[in-house]
Symmetry: C4
Subunit: 276 residues, 4 copies
């Protein structure tokens, strides 16, 4: 009995290392296989929604769907078994996503039409961001993240300003344009304002009265101009980050006179001539 | 009598502190409640314009509308009573907006269709910007404001250039395209030019002659390229602002006169000549 | 005779000062009046092209049109008379524009439909850029111009790259999409490519085959991404310009030890303590 | 026999210098002529696809087409003959392109409709980028290339993020909108997401349910905002590049060892300790 327990423990430990770890060859291989299967499963769901393909290859698609579902089910069970505190995993974001990725297929055995929920599986693609922790990218992605975090405050103000502006402009356009041109309600007008401010411009709704077109022109120029604000914020943040790194590279104080700011390849202090 | 007067005075003072102040708990709470009611009232006006909702819940919406109107009326009266110089408030921007937010509902008792003007209330959303004075954001929003003010001159030139270009390009397109494709008048052509220059591109009007499409291509490339100008201006302003702040961080105060901001390698105070 | 000549000379000289000069009150006033009349004349041409307005006020518009034409004619004659070398003015860019602004109306007396050419007058709006020479803006506009000139080389390469890419992508899309979706010829496909690359996106032509939509997606992401290139170029140019100015403000050498880089408000050298 | 061989060798050598070299007048002239013929041939293919022109001038176009094909064939043969290792050229990218540019016309003698493949010839336009190696532009284009290479890592992460987001958002929109508004399958929804995220906005597909429009609004704001990321990356890269150059300009060489790049206030060489 003891032996069985310990054997199971060894199995759990090994599984844990393979599934959660990234330091062993097996662990890295598992990650790669898992990512490949996730990508494949998402492509599968995509193809199922294309009518022409679904009509022709319905059976094959369903078969593959079941294979993937069983693969994901086994993975889910192994994840629960091998972790020390299964409840933390089960109720974590990824735990719920992993469950939602398999449940719809089993449901579809009893209820018609629920297989469409397999699309939830595409959220598993988020696991692909794990790749950013790879040494090739980790520096770059940390850099990106820090710059975005540093500009968070200004970006919140900016989005806040955009939202309030959208509501006000949307209300004005609703009064000005009326039902003509598609401004049938304020929410629709606000939707139009965002479409215009962001320079997307579908054209499903567009002003037709001269006054409406004049206001629309102002909104467009405003949208065209204020893109400069988030861009400027993030650019400055990136540039400052680069400078900081450049400065940090240069501190390097002189042991004799203490003057700092020597180039990384300096051999002598530029102030007192002391050897560095 | 004296006592009543003084009692009223105390009431006025307290009301003033609550309504206009932000230093007491009651004052902050009032601000939050007011902002919530404003947001709610705007959502209400929005829903009223959506036909399906209005048909179903017309009575409920009108009831809520009156509750909010009465709330805003009381607020308006309290604002007038509690301030020392009521006329300054009444004729201030916010004073007029606050009045316009309640008047339409009372008018709607006598005139049909004026309740649509309640939309003016959405301008009260501007009060939401008060939140930017909150310590979490105030630094950031000052920063944003300063950068925008510093680039004001260049941005005016830029908008001026855009407007003159739009008129000239619009006139040319009117001659080139004629009535085909929707270029029915020069103002419409100018509207199209702005839609194109800002890369919005509704597609409600689009050139159909080869020459018109060629000119349109040039306008698009121009619009695509010159977005770089406002972006560059604002980016440079933000970056320069950041650098200035970085310099200010090198505080290093003088022991004699207390002046700060000496370079890291300064030996003497630049203000009093004292040795550092 | 001599006296008449000299009287005419004085008139010429005064006229020259008023028309071409900007140093006297009369000269500045003339500029302002001229700009106002130009703006008014352009608005007039605009209104004439709006059918509803033209039908109602045809006579009034024609009358105003003639008043402006005569005003511009007198201005044109005065410009020729008062300048020392009239031919240089007549064949200069502005000289030709000034002539083209009046000729169409006189032509319309003999030929029907030529009054539409009055639109050429809108090119006179370019004179509005004269305002940029005003002290309030001159620094800013010089700054803008220098930054754009400095990035000229890179921007030419960029536009060159865009054009070659457009031709290649346009050709590919023509083959892929065929006549479906509006890709009826390569020039039209190139037009579509520019509409897409610049993120304008009218939607008058849009791909409908899966392959075409995939290529279109790549083109969009490319267009979305490479906007960063001109923006980056101009931003860097602006930023470098600002830095140069900041550095120039700081040279300020010490008379004793010659160390440079003192702040503009420094009273003592930070290196030797000498009074500046 | 020997003499003939050597004559042929001389011919080969001269041809090589003219075709592949750019140092002789003849070599430069050949490049210019070739580029002109390529541009002309591409314009020719373009015109052939415009029905109105093709109907009118079919014979003339075909004639010109054959002249160009023969010119390109001779060029292709000369390139093979004159190079030392013909196979390397034949299987190089440009070698294949050069072959594909002439083959379709010969095929069209035997198979109907293959002349449309002449469009492949437009890929020869890539040779136009050779102009970037010209001294006027080479510095600028190297600068551009280096900045883009330096930001490569971050841009890959960015595109990766965009792609994963597009799949997830596309799947959500498919579920939310259903067949209404054109979201007929997930691939189409992803196409719509890219059209929206990049702010192109054709409007061929656009959401019509309130929930769909709300999500679309978020996607637009996201797309509008994250353009700041690539722009910021490239701007910072350009700016840093400029600064590096500015630093290199502070040459200030050491009289002893000749090392350059000393700070303006350096007293001793950072390399050999010599007094400056």
């Amino acid at each position: 009995m003891e032996k069985v327990k310990s054997k199971f423990d060894t199995f759990r430990q090994n599984t844990n290392i393979i599934i959660y770890g990234t330091n062993t060859v097996a662990g890295r291989l598992f990650d790669l296989v898992l990512l490949a299967v996730i990508v494949f499963s998402v492509i599968l769901v995509m193809l199922e929604t294309v009518k022409e393909i679904d009509v022709k290859y319905h059976k094959e698609l369903i078969l593959l769907e079941w294979i993937i579902t069983i693969f994901f089910t086994i993975e889910y069970i192994l994840r629960i078994i091998s972790i020390r505190k299964p409840l933390i995993y089960i109720f974590s974001f990824y735990g719920i996503i992993d469950l939602l990725a398999v449940v719809p297929m089993y449901f579809s055995l009893f209820f018609v039409g629920t297989s469409v929920l397999s699309i939830l599986r595409s959220v598993r693609l988020l696991r692909l961001f794990k790749i950013l922790r790879h040494p090739t990218f980790s520096n770059q992605s940390i850099h990106l993240k820090e710059a975005l975090i540093a500009s968070k405050g200004k970006i919140i103000i900016f989005i806040y300003f955009m939202m309030v502006s959208s509501v006000i402009i949307g209300s004005i356009m609703y009064v000005v344009e009326g039902d003509q041109g598609g401004f049938t309600s304020i929410p629709i007008s606000i939707y139009w304002t965002i479409v215009t401010l962001t320079t997307v411009g579908y054209g499903d709704i567009s002003p037709i009265t001269p006054l409406g077109q004049s206001i629309a022109s102002l909104v467009m120029i405003m949208g065209y101009g204020i893109i400069a604000v988030p861009t400027g914020i993030v650019s400055a943040e990136f540039a400052s980050f680069r400078n900081k790194k450049a400065t940090a590279d240069k501190i390097n104080p002189c042991p004799n006179c203490g003057v700092e700011g020597h180039e990384y390849n300096a051999k002598f202090c530029y102030n007192c001539g002391e050897k560095l």
